[in-house]
Symmetry: T
Subunit: 151 residues, 12 copies
């Protein structure tokens, strides 16, 4: 399995960005999290991680993923979750199974603009509120999804 | 760890209820799912499952959980997710860490009434769209949450 | 034909509840109404009537109807018509042909909360404004629906 | 009893207009439907049917009905149900008991513009979703209404 | 001065239409009202009155007024006041000074749909709530307007 | 007849306030306007005029009018028309017949805040868009109203 | 006087439920509060208290109160205040004078869902924000209301 | 205890203002009401009453209360309750414990503009619907509040 | 190819109606425009043009088109674009490929009522803002559509 | 240059009013602030300061400013910024260049009622969030504006 | 004539992106489409095509077009049509005549976010729903516009 | 003090972009403006200016500013002010004191989309409407803010 983790704007700063909301771990701790959550299953996957503050670069990267044979996406679009119809339209056509992840529990935040995800309807599911652990859960969810599809 | 799984209205019928939306597995398959997702960690927990179509019974059950020493909740409130301020107020005061679970990807459904969760703000996070697998992920998330709290 | 009449909250008091809005007849007069409206056709059906003030009990009763082989529902959900997504979700999955009935003409009432029926989209049609007569019309509508389906 | 059936825009095409929504029967089958639904009672009434695509002609026709001694209306205003305050104001002043009929279950359709009936508050009740059968039910409802008024 | 009085839908029935709201006088009393309100000034004007329940006929009539040299309009559009963008667009291009009249005080009625006049912005002013007297006031207003324009 | 003309905020400046909207005449020209509009009838009335920029003073003045035996009000509340529930409540209880007047055609102005009159429902009617002429029309309307009441 | 105190969902936990919002007193302290607030007048009343987390049970209890001759209600519907049209409809028909009570000052809370009371229009008045003291004030208000009615 | 009762616009007319809504008692009956409600406790307080139709004067008066050592407010802001952010901001900074009072049950009135209290969030609680009695209840509530604060 | 051009209300006056918005050309110039835009292709089509200010006549004409074998519609519904659900329902059932045309760029106009087209969803596409030229473009679009359908 | 500083309701209390929001300086410190911000330029201006809690007095004062030859306004309307159409209409006609000032950053506050300024469109610009310093900046802005106008 | 075709996000993938919505032709077929639509007129123009997934690059490219002497724009902004005020502001100042193009009929799509075009008011007109053919129509429209401007 | 001026989309064109709204000065005149506004104080600061049409580049630049020791931001985000939650989230975490600047008085513009600033709540204050002068005021405000913080 070939998984691409895509992080959107302001997610390059995780670890030092408002730790009270987003946690104090940076993405350098993601391999450890995956080992802990996936255990033996980690061997079944190949993964890469990409981050950009640019909506256009995220779309370019997702289009490139089609040609690379990526067959699972873990996407934390950051604030673009709520504003980018461009990103939503991209997910709609590339058709790679995608899990939406958020570090904080976005559905619990009170600002109205954060209460709609434009990308949700192009994702198989979502995980939010568990910090980096959520990425590990998303990997698991993708793997279960794949095996149920192929099973 | 003492976990209570609480399922709300219409969730007693899972497996035969609209399989295209909610999947074809019933809750009798949950133990197998947990074994698959949790692996060895399954031994660290004790869990029970409860379902009711009655909002009042759900509240009664949650109040009782306080006295039973339940320290983790996995809650799929079904349609009450979107309409029950009563359930939300209950979660607010009992203070047991809770993960919101949905079988389908509720954030992707187009009916406006399904796009707000009254209970989200009293939960540590949410998992939706992965069918029964999501319950397993919720268990994992609760366990990670506990260990990070105590760690 | 096996028809179940389900009445929701506050409908146990019909006859003495605000007669100006809901009429002065109680459900004990329903058999007479059916005889009058259905005439000979009354013999083709078997029917029972159920009332509860509890949303949960109504869902329990509807789920039980699936196992009883009920093949037609006449449902007056009372105020739950406008607030109960739980009841709507139940109708969605049990799949028994259902006619929505209201004693008063709900579409004519001016309170905004009464102007949307959450259950309408899971019903084959609706009858409102004719008091107990409306139940008789609903029986007729169900019978015509059945015969056109089977015809 | 002297009943006028009034059909609004696009209802001249019933039978060939989107049969999946409106059914495949034309108004030429209405007499048969009435015979079937009303049985012996059919003799107690005199009825005529009128259709126009013109809002103004519908109002003219309704005003004329006052002078003709029509004492019961069965009105399917089609799309004007949701947009014509003119028609609503006409019903308000002519004061002839009126039953609102729709072939499809309009309360179940998802377009917001179809979820409000401007004419409902000037009708004694409504019947929707039963195709031509609904007209028969409307006749029955009008007759019951009359007899309860005079009784 | 050449004034055309145009009355829209349901205004042919004034006098017998809901007298509690619209008064008990019919348009046959308008000449008397004008004599009373205008006094000597009545001689300075020539006027005709037109009524139709048809939006299209009202537009046709207004277009014809341009060719007839009508230089003042008194318009009571009835319910079309609130719904007819067609009539508003017609007033916009014909450019004849127009006074909006209503028998009842429409701005005081509580139905939201009656609280916006689509035609107001194409009228020099409005008079509402004074029954037939309002037509007389509208004539006066038009005459004052003309003399101030030409003065 | 004893009429009080009440003008609200910014109406002391009429004549030099935005003449393009409000006209170039000041209230010193009102007597001339009344003579022109009322003709002989002017003798039947006694009137005074009051202006204040203070909502509270306007209410005080209206309360005082009750004791003075004022039996007709001509009220231009200026911007308070759209914002002062206080003034509306005052009109509601003093019960003196009142005509709402506006110099400009307020119903035609595009700002949403100007499209609702809080005071309309406590007035017998309204006149707007005719500058000072409108005050004369309001006097006429009040006199006609009185004579029809007493007639 | 025969007063029934009815408490809705989550009100069984008062005293240990979020004391910062709801206070630290439980309903076992209510008799003391009544003694303090009512003084001698306490002898004029007979009262009972009922609590349930179930909407349906609350309605059942209120219907039963009609037969018991209860002539005053003190109702704290908890979160159902804002969501239960069922409870509102029940109050509407039972017709027992009712005072709405809230422990916290609900009108001051910022969540939009808490800013409308569906039951208010079926109550003679409301008291909110004074904790258990508010129940005492409600008793006083009911007693004053009764004496003014009978006086 | 030093209590100031502040009444806003149109409250000088109570007793003769719409008695069906506001009752037939004037504020001259308030001392009697207080004696009846407070009993012996009346001796513990000193109180004055102030009324103005002017928002600005009410703010001036409240600012003056700070310097006078007033330590409890009973405020019926009348229509300003719903429109005066100025009054709300004043209560916010003066910090004197305040009880909001309304003669009628404002939360039950159907006009949308009356369904929000701008001042509620700066008050410890509210009492509405009990006429003058409500002022007495407010005094009691303030006294209980003080004693619980100091206790 | 058999094309019908249908123009709605106020479009009979084009050329003299607000030329700043709608241009100074009348429909008598349409043949020249078509020759210029279509060139040789003009020979492949037969076309007629129809205009009415009456919604009902437009619907009648469209129904008649079905029987005439019209296989392409160019429709400028004028103000009915935004208000006529009747016209939309007609297009829905007649099923003739239709191109929506507007002389001005309606999507750029600021009035909210002009920003929704009820008929758009029953058209293959739309052209707006190019005056009469837009009709020529619509013909081209229809012809391309047909050839791609048949090709 | 002749500048008038106008402060609205609750601004007389600055310094002791919620210092966390509005700062701890009173207007007695304004001269010092101006000296610090304006430096030598202070000599080019003459200024006065006015405060009132009364909307009407503020309008009176602004009207008087026209006659006094004031040619620059610094206006902090306090809560009236968001509610007073009266004040907005006054600024509209007096035509004196005005800078809107707020002590706190009003655009950042979360209450919806504080997010619209009715007066903004009659001001050349606004300064908010800098406490008393903002008044100094407003003076500078006015002076730059004047010199660019005259330059 | 010097025309620039600008395509926004996700339009590089046309041909393989959801063919059911956007058609199966890629932009490599545009020259053929132009030849077919424009015929001889193709010689009168010079054109280039540009695509980017980056809002910022699109703005950069449009600014550059000013310096290149581009005198006609054909712009398909993709999803940015509905979300990019940045692009709208750019079109507003560069002032090059622009035609808005969409492959699908955007006005017919049901998602609310797709029903407003932020850029429409800066375009002379729009063409939508005709796939690549629409680009050819836009070229024609631009050429007609130019000749009418210069004619 | 180390200040970074950040300008967003379309601000590279200032001077030639719609001078009626944004003024005719380009940023090359900013040094002169600062000298004029700051006088001697200019020596206390070091500043640089950055402009980009790309949201992503603006975020990259702001993140870089943290490492450069920038301790004051002057930000004119252009149209992104109203649409970019990404930029708002960036300001939220970098924590550098920021003043929001706009050349035109944005709060006075009538388009709804321009009436909310997503970034305001992460800024200490804002200055709008004074063209380039506003940048100078923003520098002053930042310096005063710093000195009060450190003072």
């Amino acid at each position: 399995m070939n998984i691409l983790v895509v992080n959107g704007p302001n997610l390059g700063a995780i670890g030092r960005r408002q730790p009270g909301i987003y946690g104090s771990k940076g993405f350098d701790e993601l391999p450890g999290v995956l080992t802990r959550i996936l255990g033996d299953r980690e061997k079944q996957i190949r993964w890469r991680i990409y981050q950009s503050n640019h909506e256009g670069e995220l779309v370019d990267r997702l289009e490139q993923a089609v040609d690379e044979g990526v067959n699972g996406l873990v996407l934390n679009a950051g604030a673009l979750t709520h504003t980018s119809l461009v990103l939503a339209d991209c997910l709609a056509w590339i058709g790679i199974p995608c899990v939406e992840v958020h570090l904080s529990n976005v559905w619990a935040r009170q600002e109205p603009i954060r209460q709609t995800s434009l990308i949700a309807k192009h994702c198989i599911g979502s995980v939010s509120g568990f910090g980096l652990t959520g990425y590990g859960l998303a990997f698991l969810a993708l793997m279960e999804h794949m095996s149920s599809q192929s099973g």
